[in-house]
Point group: C2
Chain length 114, copies 2
DNA sequence: CTATTATATAAGGAGATGCTTATATAATAG
DNA sequence: CTATTATATAAGCATCTCCTTATATAATAG
């Protein structure tokens, strides 16, 4: 027996949002660490506007937060999102993406803005 | 800790398939009962070809089976699908759709082909 | 056989999606 | 101040999606 349910229309909307390899990977990555746009650009090998458009969709759905730190804008998972429990229940079955962070660090492209 | 994982590309493909209100509802309905195309047509208020196209996508993903019973083709959830565990983990959070079957029965549109 | 019923496939169109390049905005460095 | 760096937005385009109508296929009824 399930503990909670989500409206089917809302679920379909979320699944459509996450039914994109780039956005789904981003979200799984954000589960473990925060990332800035330029890091995503390096990782996904697409243009910077393409990344901005993807994170915008995640932000509009309330799944991520943005914080400016000097010239960078850091994206993080919004742990307070009301749809996170549903999203989490599927992200739990996705493989950890930490190797992508390690690749970034190996290339010296990890942003550290402290 | 998760018990099993699914490749992120495969997960994105499945989420895209289920990121449609009609297909997601169909699948949730099939969790409880089998349905034929003409029942789906009544329920979703779209054309018969539209329904056929949706079930075709679900069938191509291996999520549903079809069986002919005289002039009707009955669709059922493929309980042996290798992606069903992932799909099930999200369907568990969708509200039961039995009221749709009850509506059909009230209208006398439930197919019983015995 | 023909007519009817149920379903699938084909073709086409409106709108959505995901990318690109060009440009605008915001912060930092000098 | 100007130049550079990081990001967002605008515009355009190719492709995909989901629907429609028209037609084909398969089974049943008479």
């Amino acid at each position: 027996m399930e503990l909670w349910t989500i409206e089917i229309e809302k679920a379909a909307m979320i699944l459509k949002l996450l039914g994109d390899k780039t956005r789904l990977t981003m979200l799984k990555m954000l589960e473990a660490h925060d990332y800035c746009v330029c890091e995503f650009v390096e990782i996904f090998k697409v243009s910077q506007p393409a990344i901005s458009q993807h994170v915008k969709k995640l932000k509009e759905a309330g799944l991520v937060c943005e914080t400016r730190r000097s010239q960078w804008i850091i994206y993080s998972l919004n742990r307070d999102s009301d749809i996170l429990p549903f999203v989490q229940s599927l992200m739990d079955h996705l493989p950890n993406q930490d190797f992508k962070l390690q690749q970034l660090e190996k290339q010296g492209l990890r942003i550290s803005c402290e």
